[in-house]
Amino acid sequence: MELLSSLADGFAVALTWQNIGLALLGCFLGTIMGALPGLGPSNGVAILIPLAFTLGLGATPSLILLTSVYYGAMYGGRISSILLNIPGDEPAMMTCLDGYPMAQQGRAGEALALSGVASFVGAFFATWGLVFLAPQLVKVALLFGPAEYFALFALAFATLGGISSTNQAKSAFAAALGLGLAMIGVDTQTGVPRFTFGEVHLYDGIDFLVAIVGLFALSEVFIFLEHRGTDRDISDKPRMKIGKIIPSWKLIRYCTPTMLRTTGLGFLAGVLPGAGASLGSFISYSMEKRLVDRKGTFGKGDPRGVAAPEAGNNAAAGGALVPMLALGVPGSGTTAVLLAVLLALNITPGPLLFSQNPDVVWGLIAALFIGNIMLLAMNIPMVGLFTRVLMVPPRILMPIVAMVSFVGIYGISGSSFDLLVMVGFGVMGWVLRKLDVPLVPVILGTLLGNEMEVNFRRAVNISNGDYWTLVGSPLAITLWAIAIAGFVLPILVGGVIRKRMRMPKDNEGAVTD
């Protein structure tokens, strides 16, 4: 096998003491940065670029360091999701849904270890996918024109109905809120500012990291303030038991089908430029819920609800490297930063990268394997350490979390305005939580809103105003069919059948419009 011998060459490149040391450093720093709210993988990588420059590293070692940070951050994001109900970064948002309830049931250790294994499975198979399928997958990316992207994002929003089993109207409202926030800023298709109120800080739009940190982390602080000194006061004692820190084989076997399915799904989502890891974890969770959640345990601490998004987002992280390496097109915010690094190192990503710089590509892929194994080896024993976080009384922990969030945002953008917006989001998040409005659709709306609108307009614009172009290809039709048959109809029909339950309103259809 030619590929395997290339890969062996790659290992020869990657297995120097220096590179192993860099991978270890990157994995460690990445895990920490991923776990800290306010610092996601893209910022984590960006922060370490100067370090790579200062150390005077060559192309391959720099890439090894930075992709280890990338993979590490994807692992790390889950930690604060599970322990604190605060996603460390946007792809880890879905892990909160079942991870935190598991922690509350005294299974924090199990949730952490299981999610570590799921992350490994996702990243491991995605890396193999990168080895064998990269050239073929590029063709998949080329099947997606603007109309198909629009259908894909519509599918993502259609699955929202499946996620929060409560009041569907509130999901719809939350999605509208998120989409509405995404519209803020200069409209790329006409160059006119929208909803900026003449404020120059808003011209670039609202950074979704600001939204996510405000909505999740700061609102959590407010909730603690609210409950202090009442019968629900939990701020002065360790919050919960940790439970065992090694998952049983039975549990892993139980979750294996979930992990494998979501790995495939997440990987595909990652391959599509513009979709990225967040979509990967989101779709993985919602599809898996639709598929296997027969007893309604998702959202209440179902281990599969932890395994699904973690396998999905780590697989998507690997998948996002496909268009970056093979097309020079970033599939996510993080790969955009990595791409800039590649260019700065005199490497032109693109169709010829595999043949022109095989040492870089295969060295990188080998480093991904090594980093991934390191991360598993690092993360499972460290579960005990991570859970110590829960021993810190929240009255000390929560201010630290809040301050770290501020630093993360300010250190990247240097903007007090962003911090004010973040506080605003914190208050909004608290109110929404009180009113039982789910936060996930808000974030999904801000994350995908622009891409969704822009692809819609591109498609219609290219076809000179013919709206039928939106269902103009078999792929687009298939995506619409999945969205409608798989997610919208069950809500509508289910509502009719089970009339005694609260009837979900028709406007779920509007979500997919």
Partner: protein, 143 residues
């Protein structure tokens, strides 16, 4: 009742959003769809779901007493003030104050809060500024 109020606010928000969308200054160079259509759809979606809350409210959530609301409002104000103070007073001082305040309000003693506040501030500074090299706010004293 809360949901009804929420629905009312949501409806006002939707109307405001729709109005703001309507007054978007379109340039001469517009695409087929234009910059307004999507915002209109969003406003409609927001409005419809708000009407739903008005008609079919969920059970009342458990709201804290007025004192607690003030507590949360004050914390938000302190954090907003922190955001404004950062570029003026520098990272270490502002962060120590904000962290100490939060720690105190979450139930620590006054002296303890001060120590924790300073500790948090210095700890973050060491990790983010000195180790990771992030550019944090520089006050009059350079930190």
């Amino acid at each position: 009742m809360s949901d009804r109020i929420f629905g009312g606010i949501g409806l006002i928000l939707a109307l405001f959003y729709g109005w703001q969308a309507a007054i978007i200054q379109e340039s001469f160079l517009t695409d087929t769809v234009g910059p307004k259509m999507f915002p209109f759809i969003i406003a409609a979606m927001m409005g419809l779901s708000s009407v739903y809350f008005l008609l079919k409210p969920d059970p009342e959530p458990h709201w804290p007493r007025a004192g607690r609301l003030a507590e949360i409002g004050l914390a938000a104000l302190v954090l907003a003030a922190y955001a404004e103070l950062l570029p003026v007073a520098g990272f270490l001082i502002s962060t120590a104050i904000a962290a100490a305040y939060l720690t105190w309000r979450l139930g620590s003693g006054l002296i303890e809060s001060l120590i924790i506040g300073v500790g948090t501030s210095v700890g973050i500074y060491v990790i983010f500024r000195l180790v990771l090299g992030l550019s944090l706010a520089r006050g009059p004293f350079g930190f």
